[in-house]
């Protein structure tokens, strides 16, 4: 057999049929649902008199709208409440497993999938959310879909798709201490742009990626959508298999051994051909901070804000000027002189236990600076929260002046009460710095958990390696 990339192996094994027009009907093993992109799909299904194809393939959780304070009182906003209740009702009616608000397993959909072992190597995983790319870290073919496709998967357990091109991003060598997967992701996006991988599936490889923990790989794959890719992938290795062991949805007994034997085949063949190969040197990557309103507007944490005058491309220059005006920044200003008003540690990019540990290590024994109006830690799931509390991380954060909240998307997209006021500046570990993303007029700077924690303590951005 010809040498195949991991992407092609995953694709080929899920093809139900190839259509004459070049598309394929792909089988979907796992469908994750949340409250925002599913109500219209359930409604469409009901109106057409149809029903779910395979109930057990679905797993649901509410995360986008949920409050991170005073959970016991329920959701105050009636519009949000109706959306969450609609998910509850739909799941109850169709007997779909749902982790409800009071369940310790509730959390951000992309955190709980892997955490539960519901995402497994070799699966196709979809969800009505673009950051489904996260799950590719486990060697799964995972991508975000729209609501029409959510309905299509619910009813047929398949999707009509066309094959992407394959890109290999090889991060050679090693990254320095203090440089995280978030920095690798931002550095990559800074280099190829937010549309740089449009049409591609990215596989991350190289020694620096092999050395990453499972959670760090999730951060990396999570951000691949921000580079325009539909999905990100990391080949299965011992790190993956160790991670899967003992998780509630993971195979057990004899099936575990069979599964592992299959999972070990989930890597690109050594002589597989990619449509594009990009090499990064891990040693060159430094902590990153975004300065603009697109993740590609990113700079080294100790650099200055770039000058649009030096940009030859007209559209890009206009975009930079608009971004600087929106962000209230001047060209040349050192990043380290920028003072955030709020700090947000959370989101499906960086709310797992290792992220919280990295932030807590910086915060330990320190105090949040006076100019920081609010510093929030929002764990990715109830189980992450519980783990962090058992390690005493909550006390480290709270002693420093951080607030310790209930799990959810929270200030990543500000659909709940956690948001920025117009003009407020935020150091955020999330993935999007679009205008208004964290609240109308809010200004977002993306960075790693350690960098966010350092900014909270110093009251301005600082390269965490120089603390």
């Amino acid at each position: 057999m010809a040498a195949a990339t991991l992407y092609d192996k995953l694709w080929d094994i899920h093809v139900v049929r190839d259509n004459a027009d070049g598309t394929s009907l792909l089988y979907i093993d796992r469908h994750l649902l949340h409250e925002v992109t599913s109500p219209q799909a359930f409604e469409g299904m009901r109106l057409a008199g149809r029903k779910p194809w395979r109930t057990a393939a679905n797993l649901a959780v509410a995360d986008h709208n949920v409050p991170t304070l005073n959970r016991a009182q329920g959701i105050a906003d009636p519009v949000s409440r109706l959306q969450v209740e609609t998910l509850d009702r739909n799941c109850a009616q169709y007997k779909i497993v749902e982790f409800r608000l009071a369940d310790a397993r509730q959390g951000i959909v992309h955190v709980i999938g892997p955490e539960q072992g519901a995402t497994q190597p070799g699966m196709t995983v979809v969800c009505g959310d673009s950051h489904t790319s996260t799950h590719g870290a486990l060697g799964a073919l995972a991508f975000g879909i729209g609501t029409s496709e959510v309905e299509h998967v619910l009813i047929t357990q398949t999707l009509i798709q066309s094959r992407s091109k394959r890109m290999l991003v090889r991060v050679n060598g090693q990254v320095e201490a203090g440089v995280s997967a978030k920095d690798i992701a931002l550095a990559l996006i800074g280099r190829i742009g937010t549309a740089g991988a449009t049409g591609y599936a990215i596989e991350f490889g190289g020694a620096a990626v092999r050395a990453l923990s499972m959670e760090a790989r999730m951060t990396l794959c999570n951000m691949s959508i921000e580079a325009g890719a539909r999905c990100g992938l990391v080949a299965v290795d011992e790190t993956t298999i160790d991670y899967m062991r003992g998780r509630p949805f993971a195979p057990r007994g004899a099936l575990w051994d069979r599964a592992v034997a299959y999972w070990r085949t989930l890597a690109s063949d050594p002589d597989a051909v990619f449509d594009r190969v990009l090499e990064l040197d891990g040693a060159d990557i430094v902590p990153q901070i975004t300065w603009g309103t697109s993740p590609e507007m990113v700079a080294a944490g100790d650099a200055g804000v770039p000058d649009p005058a030096t940009e030859p491309d007209r559209t890009r220059r206009a975009g930079m000027e608009r971004a600087l005006a929106y962000m209230g920044l001047e060209p040349g200003l050192p990043m380290t002189s920028i003072r955030p008003d709020k700090v947000f540690i959370g989101s499906c990019t960086n709310s797992r236990i290792e992220d919280l540990r990295a932030a807590a290590a910086v915060v330990q024994g320190q105090r949040v600076a006076d100019n920081i109006k609010l510093a929030l830690v929002v764990p990715g799931s109830g189980l992450v929260k519980r783990q962090a509390e058992s390690e005493g991380l909550d006390r480290i954060f709270q002693a420093a002046g951080f607030e310790w909240r209930e799990p959810g998307c929270s200030m990543c997209l500000a659909m709940n009460a956690d948001r920025l006021q117009p003009g407020e500046r935020c150091a955020a570990t999330s993935n999007r710095n679009f205008e208004g993303r964290q609240g109308q007029g809010g200004r977002t700077h993306l960075l790693s958990p350690a960098m966010a924690a350092a900014a909270a303590i110093r009251g301005h951005f600082v390269d965490v390696r120089k603390l």
């Binding site: 049929r17 027009d21 070049g22 598309t23 009907l25 089988y27 925002v36 992109t37 109500p39 219209q40 057409a48 149809r50 194809w53 057990a56 906003d77 519009v79 109706l82 959306q83 539960q116 497994q120 070799g122 699966m123 009505g128 959310d129 673009s130 489904t132 975000g144 879909i145 729209g146 029409s148 496709e149 299509h152 009813i155 047929t156 357990q157 009509i160 066309s162 937010t194 549309a195 449009t198 325009g228 949805f249 057990r252 099936l255 069979r258 599964a259 299959y262 697109s294 559209t315 890009r316 206009a318 975009g319 608009r322 997209l413 999007r432 679009f434 205008e435 208004g436 993303r437 109308q440």
Partner: protein, 216 residues
């Protein structure tokens, strides 16, 4: 889905790159459990001077006079001319729903974010990719004459200017057919139910753990 064959309409220009789905429809409107009614909140933060929340009467809100869609000459536009990477960001279908509810049927740009492109096609909207130079030319022509119209012909895959200049565009055969016929994709897929079942049986033999539920 309503078929789309040939559209002739007023063109509105959106002269910025990387217009994201948060800008197209801000998140407070995603709380709706319906598919329709998003049009008045399309580009809400750019379009109005006040802060928008679900349930407002948008006709009474202060409009931003500098926002392009508020200019009288672009009222009734059904074709949106945009810059590269239009629709980047989230997979929310609310973005195409809002564009469609507003009245757009065709979007033209040098590139679109992938999920957004798919979502448009699934909602009977045609995203047309033209090269940067052609898009630049169209931006100039739109600016030069009020009431500027384009004709977009899906069967021949072309955009036709008032001076009868034609720009060809690519679209994959499946999407084209689905748009032309206004197809129910789910109904179509269900015709292959036997093949899906056969696949499941095969896979259950080779990878039985995929069919194991946690409490089994």
């Amino acid at each position: 889905m309503q078929p789309l064959i040939r559209i002739k309409g007023i063109v509105a220009p959106m002269d910025r790159a990387n217009v994201d789905t948060d800008a197209i429809i801000p998140k407070q409107f995603l709380k709706s459990i319906k598919r329709t009614g998003f049009g008045p909140n399309l580009f809400d933060e750019w379009r109005y001077l006040d802060h928008g929340e679900p349930g407002q009467d948008c006709a009474r809100r202060p409009k931003n006079p500098d926002f392009v869609l508020n200019e009288p000459r672009y009222q009734d536009a059904s074709i949106l001319l945009a810059r590269r990477n239009f629709g980047c960001g989230s997979s929310r279908e609310h973005a195409p729903w809002a564009l469609k509810d507003y009245g757009f049927r065709v979007l033209i740009a040098p590139s679109f974010a992938e999920i957004f492109y798919n979502n448009c096609a699934k909602n009977g909207m045609l995203p047309v990719v033209l090269d940067e130079e052609s898009v630049e030319q169209l931006f100039r022509e739109v600016a030069a004459s009020a009431g500027y119209m384009l004709e977009v012909d899906l069967p021949s895959q072309s955009v036709i200017t008032p001076s009868a200049q034609r720009f060809g565009f690519e679209i994959d055969a499946f999407r084209k057919q689905a748009l032309l016929d206004g197809l129910d994709e789910i109904g179509l897929t269900l015709q292959y139910a036997d093949e899906i079942r056969a696949y499941e049986e095969r896979r259950r033999r080779d990878a039985p753990w995929l069919y194991q539920s946690p409490d089994a």
